[in-house]
Symmetry: C2
């Protein structure tokens, strides 16, 4: 099959690789309807994560079941499914506690930017949906494989509640979905830190009430003003750099929590400040599967439209251009059609 592979920093190719096949009774093979590029794919793309040359890349997709293993009973060939990027059996103690991303049998989609993908724990992971009738619905369903539940997780971890102020650090697709989540959860003020006009527009469509273009001390000062000097009631850290984490802690009010979903890179947590101000940290790899019961109905009834984060659609052949667009911030998020 045709699949996206990474060979070195900034070296993304479409390559012929073996089509996945069932190797264990719990697996399923999905014919990918749409995949996409994740902000976290840019870490290896930029050479900031180790690269195994020639390995497939891409962990988000939706598609049609091609084949299932013998232990998979709730799905059959032809079903349209959302594929949470982290696979789970949905029966172990961690899954039952809602942390499906820490499943004892956790696995990950490894060829979401390809023609076919393997789901290691198909029964517990996949989520059936009606095949989308248009591109907008396709985008929103695709967002449910990672980016929307990840933004949602940031808001849950930060403890967003009705009323009060939520600050979102990061205007990538996850941050924007964090804005949407905080808004849906009823935050009165939703502040996004963003200096990119197209992203600001999406943030506003998602319910942002304030846009802060300043960074560092100036950005912190702007948030102090919005919160009358008290600090934010909930902070969503959606980047993963040390700078974004420091900003998150600087603007959080005492007693609040930073919800973090940006894969941490070079982050040194300000433990003394956390202690002195009683600001907590919670979050991590989003338990995507656990949120779909709640999020899919919201997509279907139109109360949320997370697909808006996809401002670019390309055929799979152009995947390398898609990476370039995202790396250079010409696109927020690129949907790929095999």
């Amino acid at each position: 099959m045709r699949a996206t592979t990474i060979h070195a920093a900034r070296d993304i190719r479409l390559t012929d690789v073996a089509t996945p096949s069932i190797g264990s009774p719990t697996e399923a093979v999905i014919k990918v309807t749409a995949g996409c590029i994740c902000g976290s794919d840019l870490w290896p793309y930029r050479g900031e994560n180790p690269i195994t040359a020639g390995s497939t890349i891409g962990h988000e997709c939706v598609g049609v079941v091609e084949e299932v293993g013998s232990a998979v009973t709730s799905f059959k060939a032809g079903d349209f499914v959302i594929v949470p990027f982290c696979h789970c059996d949905n029966t172990c103690a961690h899954c039952r506690a809602g942390i499906t991303s820490a499943c004892e049998n956790v696995g990950f989609t490894e060829s979401g930017q390809a023609e076919y993908a393997l789901v290691t724990q198909a029964e517990g992971t996949m989520f059936k949906a009606e095949a989308p009738s248009d591109d907008d619905m396709l985008k929103s369903l695709l967002s449910l494989s990672d980016v929307m539940p990840t933004g949602w997780h940031a808001a849950v971890a930060a403890g967003v509640r009705p009323g009060g102020t939520a600050v979102v650090v990061g205007d990538g697709a996850v941050g924007l979905c964090g804005v949407l989540a905080a808004s849906v959860m009823g935050a009165e003020k939703v502040v996004v830190m963003s200096r990119h006009e197209p992203r600001q527009q999406i943030a506003k469509a998602f319910g942002a009430t304030h846009v802060i273009a300043e960074r560092g001390k100036e950005g912190e000062e702007a948030i102090r003003e919005i919160t009358a000097g008290v600090g934010a009631d909930a902070v969503l850290e959606c980047v993963g750099t040390d700078q974004s984490m420091q900003t998150a802690f600087a603007v959080a009010r005492p007693g609040s929590r930073v919800g973090f979903v940006g894969v941490p890179h070079g982050v040194e947590l300000p433990v003394r400040r956390m202690f002195q101000k009683n600001v907590g940290l919670f979050g991590g790899v989003a338990p995507v599967r656990a949120y779909l019961d709640e999020l899919l109905p919201k997509v279907l009834d139109g109360s949320i439209n997370p697909g808006l984060v996809f401002d670019s659609v390309r055929p799979l052949d152009e995947v390398a251009d898609g990476y370039r667009d995202m790396d250079e911030r010409r696109a927020v998020k690129v949907m790929l059609l095999p």
Copy 2:
């Protein structure tokens, strides 16, 4: 007045210093009935915190109001009061949110191991109680100035709920109060990590169901067994060293929180593990005042007896011996009588 002063590592003296007097309308002077030595006093005692030679030390006390400033209307000379170690106005936004330890006008008791102590925000800080009729009640009331609410804060921050397993890392007086808190909050299994027999006994009296004497990998393995491989539902970190923090995160189940109240010293938080396992961190300086409405009645009706942590009582003159006893672990916690 006679007051405890620190001059260098392991150099604790009883010295004559100026008796505190009212310098601002919000203040009160307390004649100390009983003070005590805190585990955190051992950091400077051991030379692990900077020392200003000759400065007073000691932040926990109960006593009788000697004099109040003109802005203090709810207290008068002769009242017996608990003095939370961190002073607060109890009116600012942080106090109203329950984080009195981050009060905009925060202050600290600076001569709790002395004849008199100054409370900078008397109206918002002090808590009236009937003068204790015996030493046992005196001990329990004294514990409410810091150690018991701090253990309670660890349990609140860790999210202890009825059922499940709470693990307490640390068998100092705060850790023991954490055991008591977790037990009162209804944890089904309360595990204390302790290898000191006298402390194990207090822990059991406070409701510990399991005592783990092993440390490091062996201690973690013991907790894995108790929790059927899943990990603890809540972990109370009551030490503040890097080792205790690593242990806390190693035994916490995915989706749980480590509640930390040990002043962090040389701690490097395992941010990757926190992210991958979705284990949060919450806590800090305990908002003592905010918990007294709940804790004092429990002391008065005998449902908790936190005074048990005081296994040594000395006249103030013997304060240096008290420090030595605690440093060498011959005493859990020393009450001092001026």
